[in-house]
């Protein structure tokens, strides 16, 4: 456990050294700039657009960090040959993988938490810019704690993306890992099409294959409840629990796979 914590903290410190947290500046600039521009460009709906922009930016910045740091976590150690030194210490291979994953997860959590705080600050400021009669017809208040549900699922989605990137980085190059991770993330948004494939093809075999893929591939579309929270539509607690459980079990599966593959790698 000590080794896992130590590796995780090192990954976190390294990401801070690599100026990953600079993304927060870009996020804040995007959000503040967007808030001023949107009022000039559109007729009404400013608050909805700011919320959409903020949630999408949190998801995108998180995704970029998860993919581009996740793919180098293992590869960098192998490439620099620092893996030899590491594994010669009392660090077991599964601790190395779990520690790396936990470190990046911690980086993402800190990042998302700070982006969320900045997001709510901008919303609180925007709230003061509208008269009472306009605020009265918004489906939800500007500083709506209900949006945390969408952010929570974004975090679970990012944890899953990180696990995917780490999984691929245990056996392939960063370029290929990035391609595979982003590819699966994209495919994961078409899950509904895979489920309904039988409606567009006559072949039972193809339909069964698509149905199998529907169950096996990560369903990233399930984590997206941004539209629902912005419009203050109900999101049942059971949905949040099931989706979170789905994400975490998938993460456990990928980490197990990564540990198995990494454990079998020969670094001689």
């Amino acid at each position: 456990m000590y080794a896992v914590r130590h590796i995780a903290l090192n990954v976190f410190k390294e990401s801070v050294r690599d100026r990953v947290l600079y993304s927060l500046v870009a996020f804040a600039a995007l959000l503040i700039g967007g808030s001023f521009l949107i009022g000039q460009l559109t007729a009404g709906s400013d608050m909805k657009i700011i919320k959409d922009l903020g949630l999408a930016a949190i998801a995108t910045f998180g995704l970029l960090i998860a993919v581009f740091i996740g793919i180098g976590l293992v590869w960098k150690e192998v490439e620099r040959r620092s893996i030899y030194g590491l594994l010669s210490k009392p660090v077991r291979r599964h601790e190395f993988i779990v520690g790396k994953y936990a470190g990046l997860a911690l980086t993402l959590l800190v990042n998302v938490a700070m982006m969320t705080a900045a997001f709510y600050l901008v919303l609180a400021f925007m709230d003061t810019q509208f008269p009472e009669n306009v605020r009265a017809i918004w489906p939800a208040p500007a500083v709506d704690p209900g949006m945390l549900r969408a952010i929570a699922l974004i975090v679970v989605e990012l944890l899953l993306v990180t696990a995917l990137a780490l999984f691929f980085s245990t056996f392939s190059s960063p370029f290929l890992s990035a391609g595979l991770t982003v590819g699966l993330w994209v495919i994961g948004h078409f899950n509904a099409d895979l489920r309904n494939f039988e409606a567009v093809v006559d072949s039972r075999t193809a339909a069964s294959f698509a149905r199998a893929l529907y169950y096996v591939l990560p369903n990233f579309a399930a984590f997206d409840i941004k539209t629902q929270v912005v419009h203050a539509l109900p999101v049942p607690a059971s949905y949040l629990i099931t989706t979170t459980a789905y994400g975490l079990v998938y993460v456990a599966l990928l980490l197990t796979g990564a540990v198995v593959i990494f454990g079998r790698r020969d670094f001689k």
Binding site: I38, L41, T42, A43, G44, S45, K48, I49, D52, L53, L55, A56, A59, V134, I137, V186, H189, F190, D193, F220, A221, F223, D224, K226, T227, V230, H231, L233
Partner: protein, 294 residues
């Protein structure tokens, strides 16, 4: 950074800015590049391409729809084309089916007659029907459909039926039933139009809608004032056996106290014995007088 590198960066920056200025002075991009174009028109395709950014893309298409409507409306082109307006609104509302303002304001844009809009009341109703399918409990959609029937189609029976449908929905305001009754009893009268626009003014969520309602109310006032001025001209003609030469004659005869101006402060026109709204007035052109129940 060495001094020569700094100089080079400054020179190159000046070059880029200078060339951009030359480019702009020569008229900017070539005509073909500025033509309005929508690469993806299929809402189904765009829903898939959007991945998890459907709401954000809906916002972008909404901004584009507002810009397209506004820039076309303000352009000096005598042949204004709003071809992209409905496809943009359709994409917006397909990507975010709960985008209430895109339905409500989009319908107003679509039904505005040329040159201020495309004059497509049919598409406005289609858009609002789409909104109703997405959220059948929202009373503003049937109210807006009734409004399109009332104002642009002058079909008061249909308008009253939609107002009643809106009144049946949860959270509907109490004034909807009286509005339906007034529409049926005296649809098309200025007074019933005034009631409708006043309600829109009171419940408007955005500045555009508020100023549009105020403009329409001013137009109704201007129509009343024009009627009164025409009555004064006729009374003068009956009394003196000839048309007045101008406002001065009417004032001297005691029909007016000063030069009449419309609600925006623009003087009314008086030429060849005829009173009319000045073409430079923000209220020009006045809406067509309803004909069916007048």
């Amino acid at each position: 950074m060495s001094r020569s590198a700094l100089v080079l960066i400054l020179v190159l920056s000046a070059g880029v800015i200078g060339l951009q200025a030359v480019h702009e002075r020569r008229g900017g991009p070539l005509a073909a590049a500025t033509e309005n174009f929508l690469y993806v028109q299929s809402p189904e395709a765009m829903q898939r391409l959007a991945l998890s950014y459907d709401a954000l893309l809906a916002d972008l298409y909404w901004i584009r729809a507002v810009q397209h409507f506004g820039s076309t409306r303000l352009s000096q082109d005598p042949n204004k084309q709003y071809d992209l307006l409905y496809p943009l609104l359709d994409l917006t509302t397909s990507l975010d089916p709960r985008f209430r303002l895109a339905y409500l304001l989009g319908a107003i844009f679509l039904s505005e007659p040329p040159p201020g809009g495309p004059g497509r009341a049919d598409l406005a109703i289609a858009l609002l029907e789409k909104g109703r399918r997405a959220d059948p409990r929202e009373w503003q959609y049937p109210l807006s459909i009734g409004f399109v029937h009332y104002w642009w189609r002058q079909d008061y029976q249909e308008a009253a039926a939609w107002f009643l449908r809106a009144a049946d929905l949860p959270k509907a305001p109490e004034w909807l039933r009286p509005l339906a009754a007034t529409t049926l009893a005296q649809g098309g009268s200025r007074e019933s139009s005034r009631v409708l626009w006043r309600q829109i003014l009171d419940t408007a969520e955005v500045n555009y809608l508020r100023s549009e309602a105020m403009r329409r109310l001013d137009q109704l006032d201007a129509m009343d004032q024009l009627d009164a001025l025409r009555a004064a001209v006729n009374a003068y003609r009956d009394r003196f056996g000839a048309s007045p030469d101008g406002w001065e004659d009417l004032r001297r005869a005691g029909y007016l106290r000063g030069n009449p101006v419309d609600p925006t402060g623009t003087p009314y026109r008086f030429a060849d014995g005829t009173v009319s709204l000045d073409a430079t007035s923000p209220l020009h052109p006045l809406p067509t007088e309803p004909v069916r129940l007048r």
